[in-house]
């Protein structure tokens, strides 16, 4: 009951003393006053696209009713009791409705769905969150600091890399679309803090409706610009609404954030196959502005979120192994929903230097071109070009959704490459890779699942391991010099023995099982599945960092990533 109430009607603060935005405030501060206008623009565009074609309209209504009935029959909850009757009666009547009745029903459905998606932004909640969240996280990590006026320890855990100054300049000239890698449900929280630390404006973002069932998270999500995405709804109109909502917001100059991977990387690998729906909405926002002669560029910021310890690592890798990542799209019972795990996680992170690194990559235009200081699109040799040329046909900008879909696929490819180049490899990932490679090397011919059953059975000489670790690190640093990938400061600076100890400390006591432990002079592999998860970040580089005798094992590891 409460779950449904919160997800349907999230809490808002009363309008006793509403905040009046100032001209210098970011665009999102005006969102509440523009919301109705945005909702009606989305509704009008969707309805106009369907109304001129009766067949298309009927298919859309039938599709909506069919999928909603199916979903609600499965859900068997209060919502089902309320809404099933409506949809069942509608699906029987669609064929008998005249044109105006069908259009009316479409309008009602689309309006309800768009309102449900649209978020809220309360500057008061934003200002409170700016102060409270770092202290809260800091307090969890070090309780004695909770009441103290001491500076928050958050910045010790969270490090921001990249040309933030460039992004600060661009944010007042166009719409920035942050497109990060996705490993954890903490990503949006961590990223919003990174934006805050960097002096960048808050963004709108889509959040799974399942996240709104936790009252505290629901309150913040709802009041900080999140729009709600109910992944259970399979209706094609709903997907159109989500994309168009995102598009209209970007057209209007709202900075935006979404995860092109769609869902958290189950394997721990860097995402290569991206979902193109929301990415396409941003490309179409650029085209629409060009056609309307609105001079508001759209720029993408490839961003990597790099954790030394991933809150939900065990559940994610288990899920990947069960069905190679396809088992469950929405996981509601993982570590993210367990508050005790949050405490252990944050406590673990605080003691460790460089435990989380957010790297803002160099921004690009919708066609993958890098940008000059003022946002000009540049060729590889630095010549400025007009990005509007990409959407011209015979000298005139035109909307062409098929062409834009092709540009979006290309952009997806570019982002995949940029994720690799901008990934910052962390201590746990490098150590896990070397350990896992040793496991593969010492079990030739064995399949992956047989290897994963070897819990506590393989021990490695610590000294030899440190030697391998040092060599792998040196090769990674050489790859970094070529711009292929990045490594964290500790990976670069620590002696191999320190690096090993750091990774073992990260793992010890957080996950239910231990990835590896030190027993005398031997490092014993605990849970190979956890090692697999952390090392998967390196699959693309396995061969480059292997010595000739490690090459067969490295090739086997690299094969894991072929169909990524």
């Amino acid at each position: 009951m409460l779950k449904r109430f919160l997800s349907e009607r999230p809490l808002r603060l009363p309008h006793i003393k509403p905040y009046v935005p100032r001209p210098s405030d970011p665009s999102i501060f005006w969102f509440n006053s523009e919301r109705d206008d945005i909702v009606s623009e989305v509704v009008n565009r969707i309805c106009t696209a369907h109304e001129s074609d009766r067949t298309r309209l009927e298919i859309a209504l039938n599709d909506a009713a069919f999928h909603e009935i199916r979903r609600l029959e499965k859900q068997r909850d209060e919502e089902a009791r309320d809404r099933l009757g409506y949809w069942r009666s509608m699906i029987r009547r669609i064929g008998k409705m005249d044109d105006s009745e069908q259009r009316h029903v479409l309008h009602t459905i689309v309006t309800d769905m768009t309102r449900d998606v649209s978020g809220n932004f309360d500057p008061r909640v934003y200002r409170f969150a700016r102060r409270a969240v770092p202290r809260l996280i800091g307090g969890v990590m070090e309780p004695r600091r909770l009441m103290a006026a001491a500076p928050e320890p958050l910045e010790r855990v969270l490090k921001v890399e990249g040309d933030v100054e460039h992004l600060r300049r661009l944010q007042s000239e166009g719409s920035l679309v942050f497109v990060p890698t996705h490993s954890s449900n903490l990503d949006s929280i961590v990223l919003s803090q990174a934006l805050e630390i960097s002096g960048l404006a808050p963004t709108i973002y889509g959040a799974g409706k399942n996240l709104f069932t936790n009252p505290i998270i629901s309150f913040f999500m709802h009041n900080l610009g999140a729009y709600r995405v109910d992944r259970r709804i399979r209706v094609s109109l709903y997907k159109d609404i989500l994309k168009l909502y995102s598009q209209v917001m970007i057209e209007r100059g709202y900075h935006s954030l979404f995860f092109p991977g769609g869902t958290r990387s189950r394997s721990g690998m860097i995402e290569r196959r991206l979902k193109l729906g929301l990415l396409g909405s941003a490309v179409e926002a650029f085209t629409t502005n060009q056609v309307r002669r609105v001079d508001r560029p759209v720029w993408f910021v490839p961003t990597t979120i790099n954790y030394a310890l991933v809150l939900e690592a065990e559940t994610l890798i288990k899920d990947w192994l069960m069905e190679e990542g396809q088992a469950r799209y929405i996981i509601e019972d993982d570590e993210f929903s367990r508050i005790d795990r949050w405490f252990t996680f944050f406590r673990k992170m605080v003691g460790m230097r460089g435990a989380c690194i957010i790297r803002f990559g160099d921004p690009i235009d919708p066609f993958g071109n890098r940008l000059g200081p003022g946002g000009q699109s540049l060729t590889p040799t630095g010549r400025a070009i007009d990005p509007g040329g990409y959407v011209e046909q015979r000298g005139k900008p035109v909307v062409d959704s098929v062409r834009d879909a092709a540009y979006t696929r290309e952009l997806g490819e570019v982002l995949g490459q940029r994720y690799e180049q901008d990934t910052v490899l962390m201590s746990t990932q490098v150590v896990a890779h070397v350990l896992f490679r040793d496991l593969v090397q010492s079990t030739p011919g064995m399949d992956l699942f047989a290897r994963l059953r070897l819990r506590g059975e393989i021990g490695l000489d610590r000294e030899a391991l440190c030697q391998e670790l040092g060599e792998a690190r040196d090769r990674l640093v050489a790859l970094e010099a070529k711009g292929r990938v990045r490594t964290s400061e500790v990976v670069k600076e620590d002696a191999p023995a320190e690096l090993l100890e750091r990774a073992l400390n990260f793992w010890s006591g957080y996950h239910d099982s231990t990835a590896a432990t030190l027993e005398g002079n031997r490092v014993v592999l605990g849970d190979p599945a956890l090692l697999l998860y952390y090392q998967n970040r390196l699959v693309s580089f396995a061969e480059d960092i292997a010595s000739p005798d490690q090459l067969p094992a490295a090739c086997e590891i690299e094969k894991l990533g072929v169909h990524r």
């Binding site: 993958g368 699109s377 060729t379 990409y390 011209e392 098929v402 062409r403 092709a406 540009y407 094969k559």
Partner: protein
Amino acid sequence: MSLRVGVVGAGGFGRAIALASARHGHDVVVWSRQDRDLPEPIRASTDIEVIRDCELIFMAVPARHAVTVAEELGEVVDGRHSMVHVSRGLVGADLKTITQVIRDKTVCRRLGALAGPLVVDALAEGRPSGSILGTGFPELTQMVRETLGGAGLRVYETRDVIGVELASATVGFLTVVLAYAQEIGLDPSTLAVVATRGMVEVSRIGQTLGAKESTFMGLAGLGDLIAAVAGDDRPEFRLGRALARGAKLSNAVGEVGTYVEGIDVARHLIEHARRLGLETPISSTFAAVTEGRMSQEDAIQALMERHVGKE
């Protein structure tokens, strides 16, 4: 509607494309490094600037020149341009396709790869022929059909750009193998098995690079191979025959008198497959024979004794 067409490269393919485009009434300019004599109304130039005003660009240079030519094009093209290449090769050990090279070196994004059983003379003279265009941009297909299509050339379309480029590049190598097999007197049925299974082999490798199997079995792959075997006098065919007559690879290449991209492509493909643990019986056996590591008889025996699985 008349288009401004630029052709980069004035070799056989470049000239044929220029002639076909001009025949369709388009305004054609050809760029090449050396002065060329081309029939009116085709204009020829050695200044890359002439390409800047073109709407559609055909890049018709061998793969080994693709990087430097793309760099030069990078200075004159922008987002308004559309570009199609007709190269049959790949670049470097990491099997980079020509569209990838163009994407790296220029800001042109409306790209396509034209391949299949294209024959230079037929294209130049407008004799019936067919081809496949790999592109994500239907408007580009439309432009190519307007420029080269019509009664002379059927231009089919696929979105599998990398598939078209890989299939086209590997057909060169398979042509060498088939010419070799024919020259040493293998039966037509054996040739058919080598052609079909060879195509399966290269398509398996192609799929690891993102290509679709169906593209290898279509015009870009099998279709093109049939044209090669039917005798459109490709240098790859002459190379295969020379090797079968016992010539060393370097001598055979000299005998053919032109650079054959298929050999380099095969070498890199075999290496790529080895790293991924993929089986490449036909390619690897052929490489062993041509490098003198295996006799013809042993090669045939080794291939025939392999385990036979499902198709």
